[in-house]
C-alpha cells in the first residue's frame, strides 16, 4: 500500500515537473522581452514612423501593416476555410477524391512557411501580376492558414453528435437548416479556435511575406491593397540582422509590440470562445 501511494506521489511530482518545464521557458521569454523592451516603449514609438536609418522614431507603419495583413488574411481564409470545412464534414461522401483532399490538407499544414512564400511570389506577385503588395501577401498567408482552420474546424463539426442532424431532419429540416441552426452554433467555439490559431500564426510569420509584400523601409502608410507595407515580424528581422548599430532597445521594443499584439488577439479569442461555449448545453 505504501508503495502504491508512493508511486502515486512520485507520479504527481513528475507530471507537475513536466508542466513546469513547459511553462517556465514561455514565462522567461515573455519576461525577458518585457524587461529589455520596456525602455523603448513610448507613445512616440507606437505612433511614429521610423527615421534616421530606422534608429530613431517608431514602428507605426509596421504595426498597421501587420494589422492590415492579418485582416486581409482573415477576409480570405475564414469564408473559404469554413465553407470548405462544412462541405467536407457535412456534405461530401467518403470517396477517393475527398480522401485525397483530406490528405492534401494534412500535408499542407506541414509545409515550411518559406515554401508558401516562394509559391506566393510565383503565383500572386509574378503570374497574377499583383506585384509585391498587401493583396499578394494576404493571399499567401491565407493559403498557409487554410489547413489549420480546416483541420480544427472539421474536428469541431465532427464532435457535434450525429443525433442532432437526425433530429433536425426528422422535424422537416433540410440538411442546410440543420447545419445553420444547430450544428454550426454548436461547433462555433472550436471553429473560432481554429481561426485564431491560424491567424496568429499568420500574424507572426516572416517567410511568407518576405517576397510577397514586406517593405524594408517605408515610412508612410499603404494607400491601397496593391501597395507594399512594412510588417512587424519582417521589420524585426531587418533591424536585428540588416542594420548595423541598431540599439537593442528598439529591437526588443518591436518584439514586445509584436508579442503584445499576438497575445491580445489570443486573449480576445479566448473570451469570445468561452462566451459561445457557455451557451452550449450538451
Amino acid at each position: 500500500m505504501i508503495n502504491r501511494m508512493g508511486m502515486q506521489k512520485a507520479g504527481f511530482v513528475l507530471l507537475g515537473a513536466t508542466t513546469l518545464v513547459v511553462v517556465i521557458p514561455i514565462l522567461l521569454v515573455i519576461g525577458y522581452i518585457i524587461y529589455e523592451g520596456m525602455e523603448a516603449l513610448s507613445w512616440q514609438f507606437i505612433r511614429a514612423a521610423p527615421f534616421d536609418g530606422m534608429k530613431q522614431g517608431g514602428i507605426f507603419p509596421a504595426i498597421v501593416g501587420t494589422l492590415l495583413l492579418t485582416l486581409g488574411t482573415a477576409l480570405v481564409a475564414i469564408p473559404i476555410g469554413v465553407g470548405g470545412t462544412v462541405y467536407l464534414a457535412e456534405y461530401a461522401r467518403d470517396t477517393w477524391l475527398t480522401r485525397c483532399i483530406r490528405l492534401a490538407i494534412i500535408n499542407l499544414a506541414g509545409i515550411p512557411s518559406i515554401v508558401y512564400g516562394l509559391f506566393g511570389l510565383g503565383m500572386f506577385v509574378l503570374f497574377l501580376k499583383m506585384g509585391t503588395s498587401i493583396m499578394a501577401g494576404a493571399l499567401t498567408l491565407a493559403i498557409m492558414t487554410l489547413p489549420v482552420i480546416i483541420s480544427t474546424a472539421e474536428e469541431a463539426l465532427r464532435a457535434v453528435p450525429t443525433e442532432f442532424r437526425t433530429v433536425s431532419a426528422s422535424l422537416g429540416g433540410t440538411r442546410w437548416q440543420g447545419i445553420r441552426y444547430i450544428i454550426l452554433p454548436q461547433a462555433l467555439p472550436g471553429i473560432i479556435t481554429g481561426i485564431i490559431l491560424g491567424l496568429l500564426r499568420a500574424a507572426g510569420e516572416t517567410a511568407p511575406i518576405l517576397f510577397t509584400v514586406a517593405a524594408f523601409f517605408l515610412p508612410h502608410l499603404p494607400q491601397s491593397p496593391f501597395d507594399q507595407t512594412m510588417a512587424l515580424p519582417y521589420h524585426l528581422y531587418v533591424i536585428s540582422t540588416q542594420v548595423p548599430g541598431m540599439p537593442d532597445s528598439i529591437k526588443y521594443g518591436t518584439a514586445l509590440v509584436l508579442l503584445a499584439l499576438v497575445l491580445s488577439m489570443n486573449i480576445a479569442a479566448s473570451i469570445i470562445r468561452s462566451y459561445f461555449r457557455r451557451r452550449r448545453q450538451w
Binding site: 453528435p161 437526425t166 431532419a169 426528422s170 444547430i182 452550449r280 448545453q281
Partner: protein, 252 residues
C-alpha cells in the same frame, strides 16, 4: 385492413450488404396504435426510419419494395422529403433536446417550415405541450433551457416537438426506455389521447408495454414479420410458435 394509412409492401432493406428486413408486408390502420415488437435486431427501428425516410441519411444501403402513405409511394422521386417528415413525425429512444430553450425546441419545426406569426406560434406551443402532457409543468419557464428538465420531461418535450408540426403519423422508437414508471405512464396515457387524431406506430421497450398500448401488433424476428394481428389476440392467443415463445418469455 387492405387500405391502411400506411402500406408497407414487400419491403426488404440491407445495410452494408446484410439484410435487415426481408419481404415485410403490412398495413397500418389510421387512428390507432400499432406496435412493432420483438427482440433486438429484428428490424423494427429500421422499418420505422424507412417510413419517414430518415434512412436516407445513411450510406451503403439497398432497398426494395414500396411504402405508401395515403396510397402514394413515399420513395417516389418527386416526393419533397422535408414535407414528408413533417407529415410523419418521430420520437427517438433517447430524448435529445435541441440546444436552447423549451420554447425553441417546440417551435424548431414550425419555424423551419416558415411559420413566423407570433400568435400562431404561441398557440402551437401551448397546444403541443398540452398534448404531450407537459404544459402544466413548464408553462412558467418556457424560456429556460430544455436540458434543465428531467429525463421524463425531456422525452415529453420531444413528443411535443414532433406534435408541433401536426403530423398525420407519429413514429415512436422506444420512447419510454429511459424513463421511470410514472413518466412512462404519462407518456402511455398521452398516446391514448393522441390516437384519436394521429396514426401512431410504437416500438415498445417491453412485451408488457406492447400489450398495454397496442390496438394492432406486429411481431418481428430477425428481419422477418412473423405475425400481425389486432392487439389483444396476439398476446392472448398467438398463432405462430415463435410469437408464443417470445410473448410467454421463453426467449427474448
Amino acid at each position: 385492413m387492405v387500405d391502411g394509412k400506411i402500406v408497407i409492401d414487400d419491403v426488404s432493406y440491407a445495410y452494408g450488404g446484410d439484410w435487415i428486413l426481408r419481404n415485410v408486408t403490412l398495413h397500418v390502420p389510421p387512428n390507432a396504435v400499432t406496435v412493432f415488437f420483438g427482440p433486438a435486431g429484428g428490424g423494427k427501428t429500421t422499418l420505422l426510419r424507412l417510413i419517414n425516410r430518415l434512412n436516407d441519411l445513411v450510406e451503403d444501403t439497398e432497398m426494395s419494395g414500396r411504402i405508401l402513405l395515403d396510397g402514394k409511394d413515399i420513395y417516389d422521386r418527386r416526393v419533397n422529403v422535408p414535407n414528408l417528415r413533417r407529415r410523419v413525425g418521430m420520437v427517438f429512444a433517447l430524448p435529445l433536446p435541441i440546444p436552447g430553450t423549451i420554447r425553441e425546441n417546440v417551435l424548431y419545426g414550425p419555424k423551419l417550415a416558415g411559420m413566423n406569426n407570433p400568435d400562431q406560434l404561441g398557440d402551437i406551443l401551448e397546444r403541443s405541450l398540452m398534448q404531450a402532457a407537459l404544459w402544466d409543468e413548464v408553462k412558467d419557464r418556457l424560456d429556460s433551457p430544455a436540458t434543465a428538465l428531467s429525463g421524463g420531461q425531456q422525452q415529453r418535450l420531444c413528443i411535443a416537438r414532433s406534435l408541433s408540426l401536426e403530423p398525420e403519423v407519429l413514429l415512436l422508437d422506444e420512447p419510454t426506455s429511459g424513463l421511470d414508471p410514472i413518466s412512462t405512464r404519462k407518456v402511455e396515457e398521452s398516446l391514448y389521447e393522441l390516437k384519436q387524431n394521429y396514426t401512431i406506430i410504437l416500438v415498445p421497450h417491453s412485451v408488457q408495454q406492447a400489450a398495454r398500448v397496442a390496438d394492432y401488433a406486429a411481431f418481428f424476428l430477425m428481419g422477418e414479420l412473423v405475425e400481425y394481428r389486432p392487439g389483444v389476440d396476439i398476446f392472448v392467443a398467438p398463432r405462430d410458435k415463435r410469437t408464443e415463445d417470445y410473448v410467454t418469455g421463453r426467449f427474448g
